[in-house]
């Protein structure tokens, strides 16, 4: 839940400063919307020019701005105000979270990749003469042994360092009693090194040093690609976590304002919520009058009017007037935290999903190890001698090492997600794509997903619109803005006074006019539950202006496309039955339910899961997050609450719902490619493994076969780029 600070950023932010050496301190902020060198220069220049700031550095990739204050105390509020003035929405990082955001694993993989590359290239340098020797070129035994030693002394340390990520993962999986793909890799690499040293010592012909390390090089490429995909999503998640602890404006006994992390707000604290901010904790209004937008919380489109004594829930958006709240629950106990616990439960269920590559490993590992053991046992029994039998068994392990398999899935998924990224869809993990491809039932939320999530005038041609527009332009209320947008270019009314949560009054062409709620304008209060505004000149007739949340332009087209792909569609909404039925009828959806609580939605998804349906949930509100995290796959629009984007596997930007169809198409194509790559690998092993058993594999053939098969799967993965074009 992001807080926006509005124009005013006063108060004490000292809780967000991270102490550094020499009494300096650092403030971390997440800046949205910075994209180019001009933004970079503007932000860094203006922030660094503030008094007390010694350094400001913006990371354009992650959007994180680090501001260092010198010994004399700087003013974090001024930094935020400067960014707001420049037009970049800003959020504070909780210091504890900011320190944790560092990509150690990625750096380690990159270094392992570099070492493996170094080892492969240099070991290969000595292998080329060895290969030449295999083809009858002149190579004496002494020179051959020298080349083998040189190759081994370079390759072995490199292989041991670069292989650590695999060895560790293999060890963990063996301890857990399961064999993943890293077990045959680790066994293969270690056995290959040992046998090669033995052959070198015994003056043998076959040393596979270069094969061991180039195998690791190829596998690390796949591993790093997979990590990149996850890291992008993880840093997005970490950003969100850091932002879940934004500041609340707590007032002390003297009325001074102090910015406090939400977790530190105690029951009974006085909290100030300005218009445009979200309510930080559950509370009761102590003073002030306003309207709250609960759309992201419950899916209701009509704003809720609140005044002294009424309760409001964390996450609601304050629309018109400043509110003073008395906190009734701590952040952990609020409605938002309850939903967060549901999300956690869902995420745990999702982590039990077994990925495609691991499922392949489940079949592959026992087969290959049995084949290698048989080669050794049978070879010895049939009179090959233990040394030759062992050499052939190791050749089987090397040649069948899942090099292509390790690349097969990550390469496809990277290609698929960059394809989707260009279409405006952010994929958070490779597993998400795999799950999306299996989906057979799609559940939509109504508000903000099937609809645009903002009120539109039902009859913009009405004459009253032009009359009311001057008053509407004077207000920042969403309904007034929609009204003003329908009639651009009018002047603004004079002597305007706005009563928060009620309406605006002003003079248009010398006549006093009011725009607002029915009782404010003096019209009969209706009970239709529809979103409406009333307008009237003093002593004249009152006119009603109705508003409706319009469907996304391509909603029907999208739902038809989904049905054409054999997917069933359902609507689960927190809104009232009337508007939901209307939308469902317009879209031809027979299965819909209204007035659902967040727990109801999650239960509905659970029930579908119990029937063995693979559900894709598309939702944007806080009330959807639990369902999003429980669904087999989940998508959220870019306009969704941060918590929902966090719970979703894919986030699409733009107004087009068609992104859902594109994502499913690409995910299905990616699954096909991955399976193709698996079949290719299986075919390759079917030829290569018997060849290794018969002893026709030498180090040169091993090197060729491995890089060749990796190249084929990578090229096949690149075909992804053409899907959905």
């Amino acid at each position: 839940m992001a807080l926006t600070y509005g124009a005013a950023a006063q108060g004490d932010f000292s809780a967000f400063l991270r102490p550094g050496p020499d009494q300096s301190s650092t403030l971390d902020l997440l800046v949205k919307g910075a994209r180019c060198a001009a933004c970079l220069a503007k932000i860094e220049g203006q922030v660094a020019a503030l008094s007390g700031v010694t350094n400001a550095r913006l990371n354009l990739t992650t959007g994180k701005l680090s501001v260092r204050f010198g010994r004399q105390a700087g003013d974090p509020g001024a930094v935020i105000a400067t960014l707001e003035r420049l037009g970049y929405p800003t959020t504070l990082y909780d210091p504890a979270q900011a320190a944790a955001v560092q990509d150690r694993e990625g750096k380690r993989l990159l270094m392992a990749l570099a070492v493996a590359g170094f080892g492969a290239a240099n070991a290969m340098m000595f292998s080329v003469p060895l290969w030449a020797g295999l083809f009858g070129q002149e190579l004496g035994p002494a020179t051959r042994t020298f080349m083998q030693w040189a190759s081994g002394l370079i390759a072995a340390p490199c292989a041991l360092y670069a292989g650590m990520p695999f060895f560790e993962s293999a060890w963990r999986s063996v301890k857990a009693g399961r064999a993943n793909m890293d077990v045959p890799i680790s066994l293969g690499v270690i056995l290959t090194l040992l046998i090669s040293f033995q052959e070198t010592l015994l003056r043998g012909r076959d040393a596979y040093f270069d094969a061991a390390v180039s195998l690791l090089f190829l596998l690390l490429i796949g591993r790093w690609l997979d990590h990149q995909l996850r890291a992008r999503a993880q840093s997005a998640a970490a950003d969100l976590l850091a932002m879940q602890a934004p500041a609340a404006a707590v007032l002390d006994a003297t009325g001074a304002e102090r910015r406090t992390p939400i977790g530190d707000v105690a029951v009974g604290d006085r909290v100030l919520v300005r218009p445009g901010e979200r309510v930080p904790v559950d509370g009761v209004v102590a003073s002030g009058c306003s309207e709250l937008d609960n759309a992201l919380l419950t899916g209701e489109t009509a704003p809720q009017t609140v005044g002294p004594g009424l309760a409001c829930r964390a996450g609601a958006l304050n629309l018109s007037g400043a509110l003073h709240l008395t906190a009734t629950a701590r952040a952990e106990d609020s409605a938002v935290a309850e939903i967060a616990r549901l999300i956690e439960a869902g995420a745990q269920a999702k982590s039990r999903y077994v990925r495609l590559a691991d499922r392949a490993a489940g079949i592959y590992v026992p087969v290959v190890h049995t084949a290698a053991a048989l080669t050794f046992g049978l070879g010895w029994a049939l009179g090959l001698g233990p040394r030759e039998a062992l050499l052939r068994a190791v050749a089987v392990l090397i040649i069948t090492c899942p090099c292509a398999l390790g690349l097969a899935v990550p390469a496809v998924q990277i290609a698929a997600s960059s394809r989707l990224f260009r279409k405006g869809v952010l994929v958070k993990s490779g597993a998400a794509l795999e799950r999306l491809a299996e989906v057979d039932h799609v559940v939509f939320d109504k508000t903000g997903v099937l609809t645009l999530g903002r009120p539109q005038l039902i009859d913009p041609a009405s004459g009253a619109v032009a009359l009311a527009a001057p008053l509407a332009r004077a207000s920042s209320h969403p309904l007034a803005r929609a009204l003003a947008a329908a009639c651009p270019g009018t002047e603004i009314a004079e002597r305007v006074t706005e009563t928060p949560g009620v309406g605006v009054e002003g003079w248009i062409g010398g006549r006093r006019a009011r725009l607002g709620r029915a009782d404010f304008v003096g019209a009969p209060v209706s009970t239709s539950g529809e979103t409406e505004l009333w307008f009237g000149f003093d002593g004249d007739v009152r006119v009603r202006l109705g508003f409706r949340d319009e469907l996304r332009p391509d909603a029907l087209e999208t739902l038809n496309a989904l049905r054409a792909r054999g997917l069933s569609v359902e609507i689960l909404s927190g809104d009232l039955a009337g508007p939901v039925a209307e939308i469902a009828k317009a879209l031809g959806v027979a299965a819909w339910r209204a007035a659902l609580t967040p727990a109801d939605k999650a239960a509905a998804v659970d029930a579908l899961r119990a029937q063995d349906r693979k559900v894709l949930m598309v939702g944007d509100g806080l009330n959807d997050t639990a369902a999003l995290s429980k669904a087999h796959a989940a998508m959220a629009p870019g306009t969704a609450l941060d918590a929902s984007q966090n719970a979703a596997d894919l986030v699409f930007s733009g107004d087009e719902l068609g992104a859902v169809v594109t994502a499913i198409d690409v995910a299905r194509a990616a699954r096909r490619r991955a399976l193709e790559n698996f079949s290719f690998s299986a075919l390759y092993n079917l030829v290569a493994a018997p060849a290794a058993m018969l002893g026709v594999i030498n180090p040169f053939v091993a090197a060729l076969a491995m890089s060749g098969s990796s190249l084929v799967v990578t090229l096949n993965a690149l075909r992804m780029r053409r899907v959905g074009r």
Binding site: L40, L60, T61, S66, F118
Partner: protein
């Protein structure tokens, strides 16, 4: 043929230098902000080392 005893260690030394340089760039934070670094070269004022704060 004896030249190989000089050339082989020399070539490895050369490659090790490259590996060391890569290690330095990694430690120095040169892969932390690829997008920002691409844009920074367009800024007129000279820039201090990457990683910054």
């Amino acid at each position: 043929m004896n030249i190989i005893f000089l050339l082989a260690p020399f070539s490895i030394l050369l490659a090790l230098t490259g590996l060391g340089a890569f290690w330095w760039t990694l430690r120095n934070g040169q892969y932390e902000d690829p997008v920002g670094d691409a844009e920074r070269i367009l800024m007129t004022d000279a820039d201090e080392s990457p990683g910054g704060v």
